[in-house]
Symmetry: C2
Subunit: 123 residues, 2 copies
């Protein structure tokens, strides 16, 4: 493991905004004990800044839709979700339909992926 307390901490950058990335790289380059990762190098930590424009419209989901969505992300079928929530399969389908609509998804897998991307759910 060779966890040397005096070793440099290697950081990698994942920043959409070029200007911000440049400023950060300049600032961090002059810090003793820190080093930016070479391309492909394994880093101890990553500095992340996603472009907020990639998720402009935020979606309002009802509580029930969030319930269904969470169970979908766990891989639950409509039948299993219905049992979990104590409602009928038809009602689950109804909520799933609303989710596909609101999340602009083509299917439940796409819906979960979209929701995760927008931070609506945590995988």
């Amino acid at each position: 493991m060779s966890e040397d307390k005096t070793a440099e901490i290697v950081l990698s950058l994942e920043i959409d905004d070029p200007a911000l990335a440049d400023r950060l790289a300049t600032l961090l380059g002059n810090v003793a004990g820190l080093r930016l990762a070479a391309p492909g190098e394994q880093a101890a930590a990553t500095i992340v800044a996603r472009d907020p424009r990639s998720m402009p419209g935020d979606i309002t989901l009802t509580q029930r839709e969030l319930d269904v969505l969470a169970l979908m992300a766990e891989g639950g079928s409509n039948k299993m979700i219905a049992r979990q929530l104590g409602i009928s399969v038809h009602t689950v389908k109804f909520h799933v339909g609303s989710l596909l609509d609101k999340l602009d998804a083509t299917g439940r897998t796409d819906a979960v992926a979209h929701a995760a991307r927008r931070g609506v759910i945590e995988l």
Copy 2:
């Protein structure tokens, strides 16, 4: 939006390892032009370091399985994936079956969620 070029860059920390978090906070605290975010404050970027122990068993997927998995994460149906890769639906099902097996998933949605959790794919 007052995007002042001379403003401090606010960073937040999301680091599982307390020791690493401490060292980074100390180092970054002395850098002019940088500031660590107050609790709840909106940060320009986030420093992330997840505990690698949270995903011990790593899975070996073939290249073709990765192809199929990526298209699954985009919400593609078996038919669409088949067209994309220029293979038959049966072959797609074959790879999907392998993926469900290797990822210990009950369905394609579960498979994508598991893969995303383990960092096999990026959403």
